[in-house]
Subunit: 163 residues, 2 copies
């Protein structure tokens, strides 16, 4: 299988290639595997659950946030979804065009825009989210149930340290 390296091969190549450079290899291993894992999980979910509804990852997360909070302000959605307000603006336009969300100008504060799911958007999430959750279960199936809260906690601390 030419041109294919296992995780172990990659990490040992890294170690020899960068030997004597005074680097923190532990930190490197954590972040490298963090991105690999997030990417693998995201790609998997996009190709299985999300593709059927023709939704991108970000579009789904935006729907999810608005669904969970009943109605959400855009900067809140952007922050939870981890995208810039510029990106969110475009995604909302797409979702609005497909009839899944509605934008509403703030009445008290004319600068604000709140986002609500339409009936169609709610139906979609009600059907989609259980399937999505099944995928989440698949992603963590390599961890024991004791390890899962540990993993969540570690990841929370990484997020906090980065802000």
């Amino acid at each position: 299988m030419p041109g294919q390296h296992t995780l172990d091969e990659t990490e040992s190549q890294v170690a020899t290639r960068l030997a004597g450079m005074n680097l923190d290899f532990e930190a490197m291993a954590v972040t490298a595997n963090l991105f690999r894992a997030a990417n693998a999980a995201r790609n998997h979910m996009e190709r299985t659950v999300l593709a059927k509804s023709n939704l991108t990852w970000t579009a789904f997360v935006v729907l999810w946030v608005a669904w969970i909070w009943e109605s959400a302000e855009t900067r809140e959605i952007a922050s939870e979804a981890g995208v810039s307000k510029a990106t969110l603006s475009g995604v909302l336009t797409t979702l609005e065009g497909r009839g899944f969300v509605e934008r509403k100008r703030g009445e008290k504060d004319g600068r604000l825009v709140t986002v609500e799911l339409t009936a169609s958007g709610k139906r979609l999430m009600k059907k989609l989210f259980p399937e999505f959750n099944k995928s989440e279960r698949h992603v963590v199936r390599g961890l024991t149930s004791a390890e899962q809260p540990v993993a969540a906690d570690i990841l929370r601390r990484i997020t906090q340290a980065t802000n």
Copy 2:
């Protein structure tokens, strides 16, 4: 601070909003925090280390893979960087235009393309990578040195489970 929720608030809102839906909340917490952490770390690095050299995240990863392996085939880079070959093609064109990499047609197999860093690309990585590693150290500073290998191992298992 209107429109801002803490992680705890979000998770408890999720719990009440989705109560009685027979979902795996442990798995949900792991994946949600996985994406949050990866996103936070990526944004942090893009804005600090990478912005100075006007590099995107993916462009940096591509350079990194080619640098570590001395010279790499495109499908290998795409796989390690976690992007499709279509995306890689565009990124390589950008990097080639900026003089950081060179494409070389395979001599034995005319379909293959191998990628090598130019002298300029090597200089860039030699300067940039130690700074990048300092950022990686920052990202994991909330974890003890005993926890870091545990974290890397857990993330590796998530990656494996997803394939």
